[in-house]
């Protein structure tokens, strides 16, 4: 299933960065010098030089809990053309998955990224499947070139909260089309 990119984020969607519960964030198979913070955190992810890199092989398993229930609308993944992620599976509300049981559950959504997506354009998700998300697990299965190391420069999650709405965040994010 190829990924549809959104030309602009609809007005109600905000960057869910503020709702991430950082104490529970985990990433399996990340290289210690190139950790998840490089791809998720505010300042680091904008820096081109800082990437999240995989360690023993090309797969990555990222677990992101939120501090409240959110709806996930789209996701933007930015990475280098060669080693950027290709097949990405998203699981909602599955705690503490490991590489061994990641194939036991059907993912809530699967996206296959093209090099175009990797420039950072948001990819629309099956919104109906992400209505009640407490935690998100991102499984990066392989990368564009099939190399042993997958590099991710930025991961952005867009959506809304269910109970509260952050009024400051409500602004139209244009993607320049």
């Amino acid at each position: 299933m190829s990924a549809e990119s959104a030309s602009a984020i609809p007005r109600s969607q905000v960057d869910l960065l503020d709702f991430i519960d950082w104490s529970g964030v985990e990433c399996l198979n990340q290289s210690t010098s190139h950790s998840l913070a490089n791809a998720l955190k505010q300042g680091y992810r904008e820096d081109e030089g800082l990437n999240l890199e995989s360690d023993a092989d090309e797969q990555l398993l990222i677990y992101i809990p939120f501090n409240q229930v959110v709806k996930l609308h789209s996701i933007a993944i930015k990475g280098p053309e060669e080693e950027g992620p290709k097949t990405v599976k998203l699981f909602s509300n599955k705690e503490h998955m490991g590489f061994s049981n990641v194939n036991d559950f059907p993912p809530s959504d699967t996206i296959v990224l093209s090099p175009d997506n990797l420039t950072g354009k948001p990819v629309l998700l099956k919104y109906v499947k992400f209505q009640n998300v407490r935690s998100l697990t991102i499984f990066i299965e392989d990368n564009q070139s099939g190399s042993d190391v997958t590099k991710v420069q930025k991961i952005c999650l867009y959506g809304t909260t269910v109970e509260t709405t952050d009024m400051k965040g409500l602004k139209k994010i244009e993607d320049g089309h």
């Binding site: 399996l28 198979n29 210690t32 023993a56 503490h96 590489f99």
Partner: protein, 400 residues
């Protein structure tokens, strides 16, 4: 004080009958396992340890990761030697056991004892190592026993595949007179646990050093117990002094120590308590316990003969704390044995470095905690009032 879940993989294959480690490879391995379990559970009370055997009929998990030291030690009894070790299966089962640990916040670690030849290919081991690294499981390898060509190479390859930022280690223990446990104590397998464990371990090393299998002083404890005891005591004193000097930078805390020192020695009841608390002795050697008890008994007698009144002053705190710190306290007793004078006792308490060394070995006490620092400050002033009290009491007694 890392929060960790550990699985220990024991080699109980036929190769373990060999006696090149005293008393036998299997016995030495068991002792080392007991020591590790104790150290892990002491360094952080929420740590869990599990044990499995790799040989025999097949890989068998004896106990799933638990923080109950008694359960772990109990399952080590009645283990049979036989069969061939299956290293790959053992590590994989250990990984599975860790995956299903109850507290997901614990770091995962596997400690494997390899004493027999490895029949697996290097490639297979590397693959297993990579899988462990991918799931962020650390691996400690104890290479002892058989020196098979290629065994060391395979284990080094396994370690290289697993090692992530130096969290995994390998230790080679060649056969010889040195006790396996003692060699392990100085390795990162123990010292990687941080201060709490190393304090415990050093203390148990002191206890173990005088054990029956050692005869470190060239004197048979059976033939001349008093001499052996005296030698051991002076060695422990020296060690305690060195430890105190090394840990001088640590902060102090109060009540736990102050009371802890006295009551544990001067009561017969506490000796039985000591015998039962697992924290007090990593080793099951009855002889060591007996020696410790004798030392304490003599200490108690000496002090009660000198000044029964003053020993009451400092007796008012938790005995459970005392039990936990026993080996160190025994050292404290011994060092004060010569000058069993009440004034000296308070001097000892006032001796910051000594108190801090006691504290550093107490589990669950963080010397840097501000509340702990406050307690110490109050203790300091209290020890001074104790001194005054003692001085008051002595003239009173003289009056009588």
């Amino acid at each position: 004080m890392v929060l960790e879940a550990t699985m220990i993989c024991i080699d109980n294959s036929e190769w373990m009958r060999n006696g090149d480690y005293s008393p036998s490879r299997f016995q030495a391995q068991s002792d080392a396992v007991n020591l590790i379990c104790g150290a892990k559970t002491q360094s952080n009370p929420e740590n869990t340890v599990g044990v499995l055997t790799m040989a025999g009929k097949g890989v068998r998990v004896l106990v799933t990761p638990t923080s109950d030291l008694g359960k772990i030690l109990a399952c080590m009894h009645g283990l049979e030697i036989g069969g061939e070790m299956n290293l790959a299966a053992g590590i994989q089962v250990a990984q599975l056991a860790l995956k299903h640990r109850q507290n997901k916040k614990q770091q995962q670690r596997i400690i494997v004892f390899v004493g027999s030849p490895i029949k697996h290919e290097k490639k297979l081991l590397e693959m297993i190592g990579r899988k462990l690294k991918k799931n962020s499981v650390a691996l400690d390898i104890v290479n002892f026993g058989e020196e098979d060509d290629g065994k060391t190479e395979k284990l080094e390859a396994l370690l290289a595949a697993v090692n992530n930022n130096d969290t995994s280690h390998i230790v080679h223990v060649p056969p010889g007179p040195n006790v396996l446990s003692d060699v392990l104590i100085s390795t990162p397998i123990f010292t990687g646990d941080g201060e709490g464990a190393s304090g415990f371990v050093a203390a148990s090393a002191a206890a173990a050093a005088g054990g029956a299998s050692g005869f470190d002083f060239g004197v048979d404890p059976n033939l001349d117990p008093e001499l052996a005891l005296a030698l051991r005591v002076s060695m422990e004193e020296e060690r305690a002094r060195q430890e105190a000097a090394a840990k001088k930078a640590a902060e102090e805390a109060a009540k736990q120590e102050k009371g802890g020192e006295q009551p544990s020695s001067s009561q017969d009841a506490t000796m039985t308590e000591r015998a039962t608390t697992p924290a007090s002795g990593a080793d099951n050697k009855a002889t060591d316990l007996m020696d410790d008890e004798n030392a304490l008994l003599q200490q108690a007698l000496a002090m009660s003969m000198d000044d029964p009144a003053s020993s009451h002053d400092v007796r008012d705190t938790d005995m459970s704390e005392a039990a936990a710190v026993d080996p160190e306290l025994a050292l404290a007793q011994d060092s004060t044995k010569d000058s069993s004078n009440p004034a000296d006792m308070s001097k000892l308490l006032a001796d910051q470095s000594f108190v801090s060394s006691i504290l550093a070995s107490l589990p669950g006490v963080d010397p840097n905690d501000p509340s702990v620092k406050d307690l110490l400050a109050s203790m300091q002033s209290q020890s001074e009032t104790d001194k005054k009290k003692n001085e008051d009491k002595e003239p009173k007694e003289e009056d009588k």
